[in-house]
């Protein structure tokens, strides 16, 4: 960090408070970031991180306090004003139009272009220049829906930086990235820092904080509870501040993932057999071919790899939302060659599914928790009889599950979109693990969650294994996979590597598989 104290803050929040009805999302927050400084903003779900981002990006107005740029109070009451003040944001959920090319998406972010003819060559030159400066390679000529998540993120970054940006805010940028892309993102951040751009990095991951940040600010319940240079911090300290517990031992247990995972006494029988399966993407291209894999009860099998290499397709096929495009799957008495390969039938046979895109398919935001529970239990005699929903029984059941899974809500009638991301995910798990499933498909179950909730989710999956259930885990987080999985499969560039037993394979080797080179194809 450049000479602290002498350099005036580029952007500062002073005593900023933001309320939503009775909920205080930010409480008298003081925050400052200097030019060329990387500031990590950490905290549990609901700690108020996104609220701060939204206030800086002009989406929300603070109720009290002021926001200063270059020491002068500014009015950031619209996104356009925020951009003019030199603040760029890459949101956690990308804001790209899937059918437009990267270039057109970037052009969309340039209102100064007006409504006349687009000077595509001119924009392309500007984009290339911006990308070169960052050392990013972006393909701006194809529709973004055909790009993988990492490339989409690069487009978002270039989109943000096409304007004169002095402060770049990255909201959970590493949540969707594999190890190599993450390293590349950190390189970009370091480059920005060297140019004197300030960066605010919102993250749940301790390793991110210590990899790139100069300073860490920890939020809890809307308040700043710690603000210190990372050089003087340990991961334990950060967790201690995040969870607010004074117990150092407990904090360490959360960081390291406490006791060694327990094993099932004996592996239960074969649950699912995939033979020579071909998976195709929505656009018809082959994502994976020749996949053969057996799933047993009492075992966690993990699929590693960079997103977009067929993991989503595998989950869609195994959950019955699609039939495989080649080969055969036999699962819990159902056969993909028969006519009974549908989501409804597989679910009744005992397949639970924690979907990767919870907001889009796992829940209906506009409906109550109780109704969302019905999404997966609409055939249970206890809650639906003769086609009629028994509201009383449903309410009782949901209330019970909310308590058992510590989902913080105002009860079964609250609309689910009002819950924080972590609580939504806990709700989905509470719903999916209900009714004794035998195969659990978990896609990125801990993505975007805080460390405490992640441990909770991991605990649930380990319990399921102990109870003799088969678990198929898809994750782009290698640490998560190495912690949980008994066997590991890697999807990369249309090939599959493994399965390999954990413990019989080195981390480096998996990393090489993920990168698509070395190792022998399965």
């Amino acid at each position: 960090m450049s000479a602290e104290g002498s350099v005036p803050p580029l952007v500062a929040l002073q005593g900023v408070t933001k309320r939503f009805g009775p909920v205080v999302a930010s409480r008298a927050v003081d925050l400052a970031v200097r030019p060329g400084e990387v500031l990590a903003l950490a905290g549990e779900n609901g700690a108020g991180k996104s609220t701060i981002v939204n206030m800086l990006s002009g989406l929300l107005r603070p109720d009290e306090g002021s926001i200063l740029v270059d020491g002068r109070p500014v009015d950031l009451s619209s996104p356009a004003r925020s951009v003019r003040a030199g603040i760029g944001v890459v949101h956690q959920h990308f804001t790209l139009v899937p059918t437009l090319t990267g270039l057109d998406n970037i052009a969309l972010a340039m209102p100064e272009l007006g409504i006349g003819r687009l000077n595509r060559e001119g924009i392309a030159r500007a984009v290339d220049a911006a990308a070169r400066e960052l050392g990013l390679s972006v393909d701006t000529g194809v529709p973004v829906e055909r790009l993988d998540v990492a490339q989409q993120q690069r487009i978002e970054i270039v989109k943000a930086l096409i304007h004169k940006v002095r402060l770049l805010i990255l909201d959970e940028p590493t949540a969707v990235l594999g190890p190599e892309d993450k390293a590349r993102l950190f390189d970009t951040i370091r480059r920005l820092k060297a140019d004197g751009t300030a960066v605010i990095l919102i993250t749940h991951k301790l390793e991110d904080i210590f990899a790139v940040a100069d300073r860490a600010v920890v939020l809890r319940g809307g308040e700043v509870v710690a603000d210190a240079p990372t050089a003087g911090l340990t991961p334990d300290d950060v967790v201690l501040h995040m969870v607010g517990s004074g117990d150092r031992e407990q904090a360490r247990a959360i960081v390291t993932g406490e006791a060694a995972p327990r094993r099932a006494a004996s592996a239960a029988g074969l649950v699912c057999r995939l033979s020579d399966v071909t998976l195709r993407r929505g656009n018809g291209s082959v994502a994976v071919s020749g996949l053969s894999l057996d799933l047993y009860g009492g075992e966690i099998v993990a699929v590693a790899g960079v997103d977009g290499n067929g993991q989503s397709e595998l989950m869609r096929v195994l959950s019955g939302m699609e039939a495989p495009h080649g080969g055969r799957i036999e699962c819990l008495g159902r056969d993909s060659h028969g006519s009974d390969w549908t989501a409804g039938r597989l679910r009744r046979a005992g397949v639970a599914h924690v979907p990767e895109d919870r907001r889009r398919s796992g829940i209906v935001g506009d409906m109550s928790l109780a109704r969302n529970y019905l999404l997966r239990h609409g055939e249970r005699r206890a809650v639906v009889r003769h086609g009629f929903v028994r509201d009383g029984a449903l309410q009782r059941l949901v209330r019970e599950r909310l308590a058992a899974f510590d989902v913080r809500s105002r009860g079964p009638d609250e609309r689910i979109e009002r819950l924080s991301g972590g609580n939504q995910q806990k709700f989905v798990l509470a719903r999916e693990l209900d009714g004794e499933p035998r195969l659990i498909l978990a896609a990125h179950p801990s993505r975007g969650l805080d460390i405490k909730t992640i441990r909770f989710v991991h605990g649930l999956l380990e319990e399921a294994r102990l109870a003799g259930k088969a678990v198929l885990l898809v994750s782009s987080d290698l640490d998560e996979i190495l912690r949980l999985a008994d066997r590991i499969v890697v999807f990369a560039g249309g090939r599959t590597f493994g399965p390999a037993r954990r413990g019989e394979i080195a981390r480096d080797e998996i990393g090489a598989w993920i990168a698509g080179h070395a190792g022998a194809p399965a």
């Binding site: 939503f20 009805g21 996104p79 895109d357 999404l375 929903v389 991301g421």
Partner: protein, 346 residues
């Protein structure tokens, strides 16, 4: 949020613009907007015949509006209620000579109307559910098919025995819906409409099928994830809303006309869309909304007949009402979103 604020502002602006257009249209017709408004209110609300006319009209509009509400909840846009209504009324009249006179025969006629409307809606349902065709185009086209078939029937096989006017012979009086109140035209269809309201409200709020309609309407992705087939829902709800249209047709024909003729329910299927939208797809509000629209029609209809304003003004007014409600809905939705914006952090 400022983006939402802009949308809300635009919504209000649009509503204001439409109101100005309506006033302009009345002025162009050479009438005084204020006296037109007063005239509508007077005629519709404060004269017995005007009010009764409105109640009569609200019977089919309620039943049709329920059908629209069901389909629209699943975001299936059934524009073919007019055709399904014709299918229902044709079936009722065609069956009339074959059923025993009396209440049982009448019940059979109504059921035939329901079945026939369901079948006509089901054609669009198959096109949508099985072949993935667009239901809007399918239902509109089927309207024209039904209209032409009706036109042929009342000039051909089903024409009256006198063979003068393009209409059928009247059905047996015992097969007509009884008049509820002496010296009015209000028939037992009113009871049927209210029963339909209760039935549809229960379906929407209390059953798994109603829940599935809402899920498909809110998020087809979530529906597929939950094992609900959106295509099956689309197909079945088209048949179901067709059944209600068929019921409306059978009720209208056995309650008011007693015979088949052309143009007996002009544009009701389209008006029903307005009715359902203004009721915000809530079955319990549909009858209220239907009565409201009927009052406007009744009031304006008299003024038009007296030559104060041209009749098409009714349609302009109808459009203006829908716009005002949609704009109001957009405005309210964005206000709500704004107050809760990003409460959920994370």
């Amino acid at each position: 949020m400022s983006g939402d604020g802009a949308i809300a502002r635009q919504a209000l602006l649009a509503a204001g613009g439409i109101a100005a257009l309506v006033v302009g249209a009345i002025l162009l017709a050479g009438a005084d907007p204020v006296s037109v408004a007063i005239g509508i209110g007077e005629r519709a609300l404060f004269t017995r015949s005007g009010f009764l006319e409105a109640v009569l009209r609200s019977i089919p509009l309620t039943i049709l509006g329920l059908g629209i509400a069901l389909a629209f909840r699943a975001r299936v846009f059934n524009i073919g209620m007019d055709g399904q209504l014709i299918a229902g009324s044709v079936a009722a009249i065609a069956m009339a000579p074959l059923v025993p006179p009396g209440p049982f025969g009448l019940l059979v006629l109504l059921l035939c109307g329901i079945a026939s409307g369901a079948a006509w809606g089901g054609v669009a349902g198959v096109i949508k559910g099985r072949f993935g065709g667009n239901e809007i185009i399918a239902t509109i086209m089927l309207n024209y098919v039904a209209l032409q078939i009706l036109s042929w029937l009342v000039r051909g096989p089903m024409q009256e025995s006198m063979r003068i006017i393009p209409r059928s012979d009247p059905i047996d009086a015992s097969l007509r819906l009884p008049i509820l109140f002496e010296a009015t035209r209000i028939h037992a269809g009113l009871v049927i409409a209210l029963l339909a309201v209760v039935a549809v409200a229960v379906l929407v709020r209390r059953t798994r099928y109603g829940f599935m309609l809402d899920v498909v309407g809110a998020s087809p992705d979530a529906a597929r994830y939950a094992g609900i087939d959106p295509r099956w829902i689309a197909g079945s709800v088209l048949a179901l809303s067709g059944a209600l249209a068929g019921l409306a047709g059978a009720v209208e024909i056995t309650g008011v006309y007693g015979r088949l003729q052309e143009g007996f329910a002009p544009g009701f299927g389209i008006t029903a869309i307005a009715v359902a939208l203004v009721a915000r797809l809530n079955p319990l509000l549909v009858p209220v909304s239907a009565l409201g629209f009927s009052l406007v029609y009744a009031g304006l209809g008299t003024l038009a007949r007296n030559g104060v304003v041209p009749f098409p003004l009714v349609n302009i007014l109808e459009g203006a009402i829908i716009f005002a409600f949609l704009a109001g809905g957009v405005y309210a939705a964005h206000r709500a979103k704004r107050t809760q914006a990003e409460t959920a952090d994370g």
